[in-house]
């Protein structure tokens, strides 16, 4: 086994063809600079989103689904419940970290500030009943409990 191809090797023609016609595209330097700037901007935004993730904001006034910077109001009707918790990826599935507040009648609500992403979640009543979100898409659940999923788009 020698390192180089022998003089009559047909692969020499292959190698010759492979060394031609692959020049870098015009404007590579500028495009790389623009992409680097975008990457730096994304990194800064990501850091900002991480900071926002620690804020939980309870909101009394319910607005229709409209432009939002990650403000999500979770609400459901739970007749005869003495209390309701929101559990999901964003609470690390702890059942007592986010409580909904009464919003009149049987309605319970809480509003969270969430960064863009996709989150699995459900409601749990103080009676231990698991409930899906009435407005969110249902998802197949490995564990046989009602589960919903929410996508928060980029603003």
């Amino acid at each position: 086994m020698t390192d180089e191809l022998p003089p009559n090797d047909p692969l020499l023609g292959v190698v010759g063809a492979l060394r031609e016609g692959t020049a870098p595209r015009h404007g590579l330097v500028d495009r790389t600079r623009r992409r680097a700037r975008r990457a730096r901007l994304r990194a800064r935004l990501s850091t900002a989103a991480g900071t926002l993730a620690i804020a939980l904001v309870a909101v009394v006034l319910l607005r229709p689904r409209e432009a939002a910077a990650g403000q999500i109001t979770f609400a459901l009707n739970a007749p005869a419940s003495s209390g309701v918790s929101l559990v999901g990826d964003f609470t690390e599935w702890e059942t007592d970290r986010v409580r909904l507040t009464p919003a009149g009648g049987d309605r319970w609500e809480v509003t969270l500030q969430l960064p863009p992403g996709r989150y699995r979640f459900a409601y749990v009543t103080d009676g231990g009943e698991w409930l899906p979100d009435p407005d969110a898409a249902p998802v197949p659940d490995d564990f046989g409990r009602p589960t919903s999923v929410l996508t928060v788009p980029t603003p």
Partner: protein, 201 residues
């Protein structure tokens, strides 16, 4: 569940978990170098919720996934979800195994350096029957943008009864046109449901 404008009346800082979306798309090498710290955190969270034998086995599944360069966080969250729902340990092991396998396949399609949120959403899409090559198409169409919103839209549409192929066409069309994330939200599943039996594929 409703998206609202910012209207702060009461702010409570409760230390919510950093969501998947906030995780940066780290390189494989970077991910591996973070592995020690990541697993230490995993141990702590799992240790508080599961008996030690269960936590150890879950740790082993997650450890093998991170050794492949897959992110730990989606697996940890799924384990914690199972714990919160009070299911048997075996069901958690099975769910984690499925998720790991789907994320592995997703990583082959969109790259191991994809953000954890992209990988876990892509894994969910694969579990509903989306062909891996579709993920490749979407990755190409979206450039460096996150795949969470288009894949999330596809999953939501099909969950609401849209014909998968039609839902996918709508999503990939938007991706190719570089549509904003909001455009995916506006897709009406009613336009995509099967009207004749032969429409449903």
């Amino acid at each position: 569940m409703t998206m609202t404008r910012f209207h702060p009346t009461l702010a409570l800082v409760l230390g919510l978990a950093t969501p998947l979306a906030a995780q940066d798309a780290s390189s494989l090498a970077g991910a591996r170098s973070q592995r020690g710290a990541e697993l230490a955190a995993v141990d702590q969270r799992l240790g508080g919720r599961f008996p030690s034998s269960v936590a150890l086995r879950i740790h082993g599944i997650i450890d093998s996934a991170t050794a492949e360069g897959l992110p730990a966080e989606p697996l940890v969250l799924r384990a914690l979800e199972g714990g919160a729902k009070g299911v048997k340990a075996d069901a958690i092991y099975v769910a984690l195994g499925r998720l790991r396998a789907s994320m592995r396949l997703a990583a082959q399609a969109i790259g191991l350096d994809a953000p954890a949120s992209d990988l876990s959403t892509a894994a969910a899409a694969l579990q509903t029957g989306l062909a891996p090559v579709r993920l490749v198409e979407l990755r190409s169409a979206r450039g460096t943008a996150s795949l969470v919103v288009p894949l999330g839209a596809y999953l939501d549409l099909t969950a609401r009864g849209a014909v998968p192929e039609r839902a996918w066409q709508r999503v990939i069309d938007l991706a190719r046109r570089k549509a904003e994330d909001r455009a995916y939200e506006a897709i009406d599943p009613a336009d995509l449901v099967a009207r004749r039996p032969e429409d449903r594929r």
